[in-house]
């Protein structure tokens, strides 16, 4: 490899290889600085973007960033590339590709047809040439629809994950957070618990509890206990009511091994869950979480910048036809995304890149208490993501997760967004709210007083 260069006035910026161009072209972020691969000046950042803009898109098919021979994620990306689908943009540079993505020709149908022809690295490169608003407006043209008991990702709708975590997995405590969320119309993407203890009996107990709530109220929704994939596989063997199989994934084989997974293990889990045939309108049975920084944290990034290596995780996700994928954008900590500016940007990048690749992307708009961010910043991110057509957002009671000790969105936030932007939940779930008599004449979900029939029906019948 000859390397790359860009002359700006008297200054010549040299880049050893494509990885260096990609890393330097990324907006400033603490994770790339921690890895020692970030641009050391703002000018160099722009120089790298200028190199990238002139680079033929097809370069990424021949010049891989992580070796093909030693990484099964690279092999997945290259072996499954659809050259026919790629043809409409095969002659373009990265800069021309960005312009085309923003053009009127790149409509929903064209973008959907293109998805199998794109690789994560192409999409990551294009994102580095985009402003936040570009990321929103292109993603808004993409539609990735998936089904299990509800239909998630339809244009003009906003789904949500209800996350009723409890520090000791107390069933009454989890039921309390679940019923509270239902009163805000939350949960049409999934009711999903992060278990405090990852073992098979605890996982089965929670699955049975969620399934009992679902069937008692006849709610069209799917449930998930976000245990390790091997725990869920054992739960299935023991006959537990598993709707979705969850797993955290990353963008390299080594990072996935750090999570205790391989592609073949994920395939095995997908087959097991599909064979249960629990979905009523579709068989998208997988749920994945990703997040910038996870590969570096596992010392498995191979000098690739954190945004690009994150995008490679979406190639893993799309191989298993997931119902849901979400980035946990602000969760991994300030050593990877330091402040609200970095968290916001990363959330929009992750959503844009996933959608272009045909992945049903949602987001946990969130932050930890050692990051420079607060709920005002989440307001900005959630509004931009909803405008961009994000498939779902995660919500917890009062935005405070008392098990994982971080802040996400509240039930209020998602409900308010739905009303403000006129984006109702999944149609099956909306019909259930309507049938239960919870919607007002403007199809809003109003605040029901504690003494109302709606509340007493839900809480009273839960008490039995």
């Amino acid at each position: 490899m000859a390397g790359y260069q860009c002359d700006l006035g008297r200054q010549r910026h040299r880049f050893d290889d494509l990885k260096a161009v990609m890393a330097c072209a990324s907006p400033r972020r603490s994770g790339d600085e921690l890895a020692g691969i970030a641009a050391d000046s703002d000018e160099r950042r722009v120089a790298a973007r200028m190199v990238l803009a002139d680079l033929p898109l097809k370069t990424f098919l021949t010049e891989v960033l992580v070796p093909y021979e030693t990484d099964e994620v690279t092999r997945l990306i290259i072996d499954r590339h659809d050259a026919d689908a790629f043809r409409p943009v095969a002659h373009m540079t990265v800069g021309q590709f960005r312009d085309w993505l923003l053009s009127y020709q790149a409509d929903s149908a064209a973008l959907a047809a293109l998805a199998p022809g794109l690789t994560p690295e192409m999409v990551a490169a294009a994102s580095k040439l985009m402003r936040n608003h570009d990321l929103v407006s292109v993603a808004a043209k993409c539609s990735v629809v998936t089904r299990f008991r509800t239909t998630v990702g339809l244009p003009g709708r906003l789904s949500s994950r209800l996350q009723p975590n409890h520090p000791t997995d107390d069933p009454t405590g989890i039921a309390a957070s679940t019923l509270d969320g239902l009163l805000y119309g939350i949960g049409d993407a999934v009711i999903g618990i992060n278990p405090a203890t990852d073992n098979v009996p605890a996982c089965i107990a929670l699955l049975e509890m969620l399934d009992a709530v679902r069937t008692r109220f006849d709610i069209p929704v799917q449930s998930c206990v976000l245990a390790h994939v091997t725990t869920t596989m054992q739960a299935m063997e023991r006959g537990a009511p598993v709707d979705l199989v969850f797993q955290s994934i990353a963008g390299t084989e080594k990072a996935n091994r750090g999570f205790g997974v391989t592609l073949s293990l994920l395939a095995e889990a997908q087959e097991a869950a599909k064979s249960l045939k629990r979905g009523t309108i579709g068989d998208n049975v997988m749920y994945f979480e990703t997040g910038q920084g996870s590969a570096l944290s596992a010392d498995a990034h191979f000098g690739v910048d954190q945004q690009t290596v994150e995008t490679r995780a979406y190639a893993v996700a799309r191989a298993f036809d997931p119902l849901l994928v979400n980035t946990v954008v602000g969760f991994i900590g300030p050593e990877y995304l330091y402040d609200a500016k970095q968290i916001t940007r990363a959330g929009l990048e992750d959503h844009f890149c996933a959608k272009l690749l045909g992945v049903p992307m949602g987001c946990d708009a969130c932050y930890t208490n050692h990051a420079e961010a607060d709920q005002d910043d989440m307001d900005v991110l959630m509004t931009m993501l909803a405008t961009a057509g994000v498939n779902f957002l995660i919500a917890v009671p009062g935005a405070d997760d008392v098990m994982l000790n971080y802040q996400s969105l509240s039930y209020h936030d998602v409900l308010g967004l739905r009303h403000l932007l006129k984006r109702p939940p999944a149609p099956e779930f909306e019909a259930w709210l309507d049938k239960a008599g919870w919607l007002d004449e403007q199809r809003r979900l109003p605040p029901w007083p504690d003494q109302s029939l709606v509340v007493s029906a839900l809480l009273g019948s839960a008490a039995r």
Binding site: T172, A176, S177, D180, F259, P397, Q407, H412, D450
Partner: protein
Amino acid sequence: MSDTPKDKPQDPWARFRSATRARIALGRSGDALPTKALLEFQLAHARARDAVHNAVDFDRLAADLSPLETIRVHSAAPDRPTYLRRPDLGRRLDPASAAGLPAGEWDLVFVIADGLSAAAVQVNAAPLVQACMARLGHLRIGPVVLAGQARVALGDEVAAAMGARLVALLVGERPGLSAAESLGAYLTWDPKPGRADSERNCISNIHADGLSIQTAADKLCWLATEAARLKLTGVALKEDAPSLAGPDNEKNQLTDRS
């Protein structure tokens, strides 16, 4: 509220509230949070941020630990912003600190690291060390090391320099909104730079509303005694320990825990 008990309707959430600290049934102002709930959240977040950014008063901590001897050290991270961005620097001693550590024949050394919560260290560290001292008369215990801008792995370098066979590192845990004063304790046999997290035993969630000082001391001293007997810490030791499992699903491992 002016409601008399007679007028006040029964709260249908009452039995649920006692089962969780989650912010359930907050009420609504339109679609938004009511003012009271909004300000309560902001207060909790402010306290959590203060716990992260305030400095531990190490003079006061040393006085609280008296008559135990203490030694001050500092990591290679000069300040809090650097500490938050560069976890690698928080795991190493600055050269001046490394030079000043006395070598000895110690079975166990306690290191108190500020970590991510000054409040946790200020309130809980000295009582925990004292409770352990009362239980560990059979071990030779070195001076207590007080470490600024420090992460868990810093204890390995400190203990290796002092020649200790076992290090117990107490650290302020990342604050949540409902627990800003939570202390963690990490026990490592044969400490030296490069030890993996799987080679440690961890006791988490030590604070007034979590694991009590006395219970934490019981667990830590049981582990320390077993570690000295078996000459190991980590996964192999944890399996024998009774009821030590704490929350172990850090969002299914998407985060770096050290």
